[in-house]
Each structure stands twice: as structure tokens, then as C-alpha cells.
Amino acid sequence: MINDEQLLALLLDDSLPADQRRQLEQAIAADPELRRRLTAWQAPLRTWPADDSFEPAPAAAQARWRRALAREQRLTASSDRRWPQGWLVAGLATIVLATFALSLERWRLPPTGAAQQPPPVAQDSAETGALQRGVALYLADTRARLAQWPGSADQQHDLLAQSLAQNRMHAAAAAAQGDQELARVLRAFELTLESLQAARDNDPAAAATRQRLSFELGAMQTKLSPAASKQTHTL
């Protein structure tokens, strides 16, 4: 019986000894059912990176991001006349972040009348579930956006700015809810997104960084997926 572990090993190429690999390939060649199962494993590749099965961010969130970006552009335009740009960039980044920090704080406020009440365990679980669903949506959204990497520098900047803002919001929420594991991963993504923002156009290193980020977004999406299981399955 060939199980999914062996098929995964085959896909991982070098993780099987040559003789086992040969035997497995022969078995697959001779068995249509095995070929079907291998094809099922390969199926995600055909849809990647053109996976558009994500839902866009909520309209209210998009509106906030657009306002922050518009403000940034206005201030950048008005500041070029005088002072070193570095100061303005740093200041503007703070303004954008402040907008999100503010919205995050609002989101974290307890409901009226419950300010002094410790939240029940069930509510914690619900919040954690909501956070993970929100993060999963963000991961899918960002991965799809990276797959459709725009040609113009302005669009690239906007895409990265929006992704960074979402990433920071989710990282802060994860830390606030004590989900340090998720917070660490999102902090790593933040560094990656920042490095992409700092990259010049057509930088080959940036392309490699995007590929890495896309993989890691997908990997975390898989981990957070409700379908992720601790059970072993045999194909």
C-alpha cells in the first residue's frame, strides 16, 4: 500500500533513496489509481499562482487604507519643497501606522458595560478563532496580490503598503491575544515586506524574496486552515 507520505517523498524528489524512488515510479506508471492520487497532489500547482479563491478585505478596512495612503501622498507632495525626505518618510509612515493603531485600539475595546469583567474562556476561544480566520484571509489575500505583481512602481508601492498595514494590524492583534507563535511569524513577514519596499524596481533579489514570501504565506494558510489535521491520512 503506497500512502501519501511516500507520494510526498516522491514530490520532494531527493528525500527517497534511488531504488525506492524507481520502484515507486514504476508502481505509479502501472497503476492508474496511483496516478490519479499523484495528480491530486500536484493539482494545487496548476492553480498556483493564479489562485483567486480569496475574498477581498472588508470595504471599511479598504477605505481606511485608501484614506491613509491618500494622506501620505498629499503630505509627500507638499513636503518635497523643503526638508530632507527621510524625515518625512518616517513621519508619514508613523501617520499611516497611527491610523491603523487607532483602528486596532477601537477594535480591542471591550463592549459597553463589560470593561471590568474578565472575558469568559469561551469568548477568548471565539476571539482567537476570529483572529485566525482574519489572518488566514489576509494570508490568502496577500498571496493572491503577490501572484498578480503589478508592473508600475506606484502600484507595487501601494500593494506593499496595504500588505504591511494589514500585517502589522494582525501581528499586534496576535500579540495582544497572547498568540506569540502567530505574532512571531507575522513579525518575520513584516521584515520581508519591508525589505520588498526597500528594493529597487526589477531587483532580482526582490523577486526571490517575493517567491519566499508567497511560499510562507501559503504554508501558514495551510496551517491555519480548518482542514489542517493532526490525523494521518492515506490516499
Binding site: L16, W48, W87, R187, A205, A207, T222, S229
Partner: protein, 298 residues
């Protein structure tokens, strides 16, 4: 609270390190392996670990091995942590950097602690990767140890990271020990430490750093920062200090504060400068001031 601010300086270093990763497009075989690795994220540790071990020990491409290290960071098993540490200590430089990053992402206390010896023995690239791993794992004390050693070539990067981590206590400790530098001013601003910046602005340090600290207050969130800049403008003893406070107000986009200063000022030269600043800001307050100036009311 961790990493809420721009990490541009750190990211620039990260990208420089990533230049090593620039390579040919991923082959079809690698793409299949990457899909398989992604699938392992949903597998139980006891199943995923042997596959990851074989992938790392085999002749897969560097890129596939790097991705395997990320997946390994998510496997909760002592053997996974041991493998990450082994990879971080020796072998291919790109894999070492990725393993160090993965240790930070994994966040295991003992493994993150082991990074100190890797930092000590590493070259510039490895040291930078360790600092990033500490940032990811939210370990300001380890970063501080590097930052406070002026002879350490990674000290400036470590100071920037403390800012990104919002590690105000460690930054103030640096400031009080006389470690004045542009990196420290920037880090205090990024960490939103108004009191730390005010101490530098009003201290007896180098005049250039004092001016930088005043400008940097504009980056700090909140009304208190605007009020502090307004006060610094009013108490400025020379043009440079006044100009720095005004620059801080512009960065903070504090139109109301600038308008208040404009109305209070009796010095024609200062009034002109304040009005120019308001016009650059371009908001309602600016129009109000321009209108009043044209009518000769202010």
C-alpha cells in the same frame, strides 16, 4: 508591544542579504517540492519531521531546503529544534541564515538563547541574521547586549532594532550611558519615546544630536509630542533650535500648533516662516491663516 513601526533600515540590510538568493526561476521539479512542503504544514509532526530531515540531508536545491527550514520552524518537536540549530551553526551560508531566521520564528527559548554563541562566532551576515531572529522572537535583552557594546560592528543595527521593538527601557539605558548617536535618536522616535527624546533635546549633548532629537519628536504619535514641539519652539534660544522644532511640527502635521504659534508670534521673520510652513501643510488652518494675513488681520 513589538514591531509596530517602520523597519526600513533593517529591511535594507535584509534585502542586501537576500541578494544571495537571487537565482534562476524555480524549476518545475522545485515547484512540485514546494507544493509538497506546503502540504506538510497540515501534517502531524511525527510524519512531517522525517520528510523534512530527508529533504535537508538530500540533494534538493537550496531554495527547497530553505523552505523546508521554514516548515521545520513550525514543527513542535525537539528533533526539529536540534536540526535547526545544527543547520544554523555550520554549512551553506544561505541555509545558515534561513535556519537562524527559522529559530526566531519558532521561538523556542533554548534555541533562541543558543543564538548568542552563533552571533559571537559569525561573520557580518550571520550576526545580522541573528539580530533579526531576536527581533522576530521579541528578545530585546539579547539585542541590547549587542547595542551597548560600542566596539561591536552590529551595534547600530541593534539600536535600530530596539526602536522597532519598542524597547524604550533598553533605549533609555543606552541614552543614559552616553551612547548618543543618530541611530539612537531614530530608534527612540520609532519606539515612540517622547520623554527619551526630550531628555536628549534638552540635554547637554552634541548640538547636532539635540537638533535631530527635536526633529524626531515629530515622528512620535500624540498630542503630547505636538505640545512639546510647540514649547521647544517657544523656548528656542537660536534659529537652529527653532527651525528644528518647526520641522518636527511639519513632520507631525500639527497644523493647529503651527497656527497657534503664528498667532502668538510678534516677530515678522518668525511669522513669515510659520506662514510658509502652514502653506506647505495645506490644511484648513493654513487657508484660515492665509486669508487672515491677506486681510491684514494677523
Amino acid at each position: 508591544m513589538m514591531s509596530r513601526r517602520s523597519l526600513t533600515l533593517i529591511a535594507a540590510g535584509l534585502l542586501a542579504a537576500a541578494s544571495l538568493q537571487a537565482r534562476e526561476p524555480v524549476s518545475e521539479r522545485d515547484q512540485l517540492a514546494l507544493v509538497a512542503l506546503e502540504g506538510l504544514m497540515a501534517a502531524p509532526a511525527e510524519r512531517a519531521l522525517p520528510l523534512l530531515q530527508r529533504t535537508l540531508a538530500g540533494s534538493a536545491s537550496t531554495e527547497v531546503k530553505q523552505r523546508a527550514l521554514f516548515v521545520l520552524s513550525q514543527v513542535e518537536d525537539p528533533a526539529a529544534r536540534t536540526l535547526l540549530l545544527q543547520t544554523a551553526r555550520s554549512g551553506d551560508a544561505e541555509l545558515r541564515v534561513e535556519a537562524i531566521r527559522s529559530i526566531g520564528i519558532g521561538g523556542d527559548e533554548a534555541s533562541v538563547g543558543e543564538l548568542q554563541s552563533i552571533y559571537r562566532d559569525g561573520d557580518a551576515e550571520i550576526r545580522s541574521a541573528v539580530l533579526q531572529a531576536w527581533l522576530i522572537a521579541d528578545r530585546p535583552d539579547e539585542v541590547y547586549q549587542v547595542a551597548q557594546d560600542a566596539s561591536d560592528p552590529g551595534a547600530d543595527e541593534a539600536i535600530s532594532m530596539l526602536g522597532a521593538m519598542g524597547a524604550q527601557a533598553q533605549l533609555r539605558q543606552l541614552a543614559s550611558s552616553g551612547r548618543g548617536s543618530t541611530s539612537l535618536v531614530n530608534a527612540l522616535a520609532v519606539a515612540d519615546d517622547l520623554d527619551g527624546l526630550l531628555a536628549m533635546a534638552r540635554g547637554n549633548g552634541q548640538s547636532d544630536l539635540r537638533l535631530e532629537a527635536i526633529r524626531a519628536i515629530g515622528i512620535v504619535d500624540g498630542e503630547a509630542a505636538e505640545q512639546a514641539l510647540q514649547q521647544l519652539y517657544q523656548e528656542a534660544s537660536d534659529d537652529a533650535l527653532r527651525e528644528a522644532a518647526l520641522q518636527g511640527l511639519l513632520v507631525a502635521d500639527a497644523e493647529a500648533a503651527v497656527l497657534a504659534l503664528y498667532r502668538q508670534s510678534n516677530d515678522p521673520a518668525h511669522k513669515r516662516e510659520l506662514l510658509r510652513t502652514l502653506t506647505i501643510m495645506g490644511g484648513d488652518e493654513a487657508l484660515e491663516a492665509i486669508d487672515a494675513a491677506l486681510r491684514g488681520e494677523l
